[in-house]
Amino acid sequence: MKIILVLFAVVGMPRLLVGQRWERQVEERVQRTIAAVGSSRGLPVVRRSGMLNTDEAASFQTTLEERTSYAIVAVCDDDCSRLQLTLLSPSGSDIAKERNSESLPTLRFTAATSAVYGIRVVMEGCRWNPCWYAVAVIPLGKGAPSR
């Protein structure tokens, strides 16, 4: 009986145990997006997440394989109103920028050569700072090189 009570107590405990509400929100959102886009088998999905205040930016690098199409998707929490996503070439110049999709910017890109590309996220609008975000680089499969 005691064990059952303890289990009930643990189940009823605030969900704070598994992380903050906004972190979970973004985590669930990015998982749903990956499932909706559908990734290619055999190639890993690269994911990054974090938090930013309004007008702050974060960057990371990832290797994109040649002649592979990718969907690069960023999501953010409910307090975020605008997120900017930029794909950068190995030399650091902008390849593509998405800032019109508010809180779900998406880029599609097929790498001509295998190289380390940069991805930059800018939190353009956050009602309650900081806002959590997550970026997923989803491989869609081999395809013709195009941008």
Binding site: M13, P14, L16, L17, G19, Q20, R21, W22, M51, L52, N53, T54, D55, E56, D79, C126, R127, W128, N129, P130
Partner: protein, 391 residues
Amino acid sequence: MASLKGWVVAGLLGCLALALAYLPPRGATSSGSPFFVGQSPSGTPARQRAQALAEEWRNADAAVRLLEDRPRVKGDSLRASPAIVFRGATLSSNSVRDVETVMDSVWRALGLGETKVRVTLAIELQRPYTSVDAPTPLQDRVAYLAPDSTHRTDCIAYLPAGPYWTSFILGKRDAMQDGLGRFAQWLQAGLGPCAFYAAYGNPGRPVQSWLAARNWDLGLYLGSHGIAGERFSSLTILGDPRFPWFWDGVYSFPPATVACLAGRPSGCRAAVLAGAAEERMIPIPNVVLAERRWWRAQHLLPGERYLGDIARTVGRDRFLAFWTSGEPVDTALAAALKRPVGEWTADWERGFVQPIRLGPAAPLEGVVMALTIAVFAIVLVAGTASRRQIR
């Protein structure tokens, strides 16, 4: 005779001009020994230097303690209300639970639940300090480690308990009448800027720079009552003309603060926006040390509750729009208030204090003395002039 009248009129006008220029503001009386001038005669230069060094050491020590506490509180995410860390003594689990229960009720009273910025209260219990190699640690000031770009979701308040609250927390002192209520007020006041971070998240750069420039004097208290009780505020200490130190206090404030006390919107605007024009870099770590006598360093009375009152008046959405805005502070604040900042603040100030009357005014005894001297001089001059007339 006509020329004599001209001289008399010119003399009186001269007196009036001198009175306007030199007489103190209306009602100003000296309390004898000024309350706001230093507490004790200044020491020797060597002693002053030693005190300044000790002060620097205390500030650095407080900053180090806050930085030490940051990793310790990372793991405690079970409670929505602030995690509490005790320093200086080991408490029984019952004592810890009692303090946490009071903190939980304080948190709920502030309307806070799960927040984006996690607050930790580091309570420094007083202990005998015997080291002769270093000054006594900071014991009479509250310090805060505000979120920065490396730790965006942590705010730590360092709260020295002093002898009274130390023995209260340790259970050595029974709760006197309303002791628990006062303890809750003490905890609530101790949250300081961290309460704003918890309620509204990290401010935008203009607001952050503005508050840093004025050491958060407008955001020291989120609660709706006075900082140390139902009505007690900095205004209670300084704003009541019945207290003998009232005019000493008025003279110690910047001109804009006094103008705001007089109900002038332009003065209120200047008092609120002091520091808003500065482009201040936010340091890492972002340590905010409350002034030792914070009510003396205010630009507005009672400034400690100004932002809290705005938040309650305009509502969460409009306050958040101001708080996170990238616009200059005066623009963002006026947009949130939907009124010019000076006008709103002057009305707010009138809710606490009857506007003081500014301008020169002479005390009665001074007027009688001056008139007596003037009449005597006129009679003397008139008598002398009449003797010199050629008939």
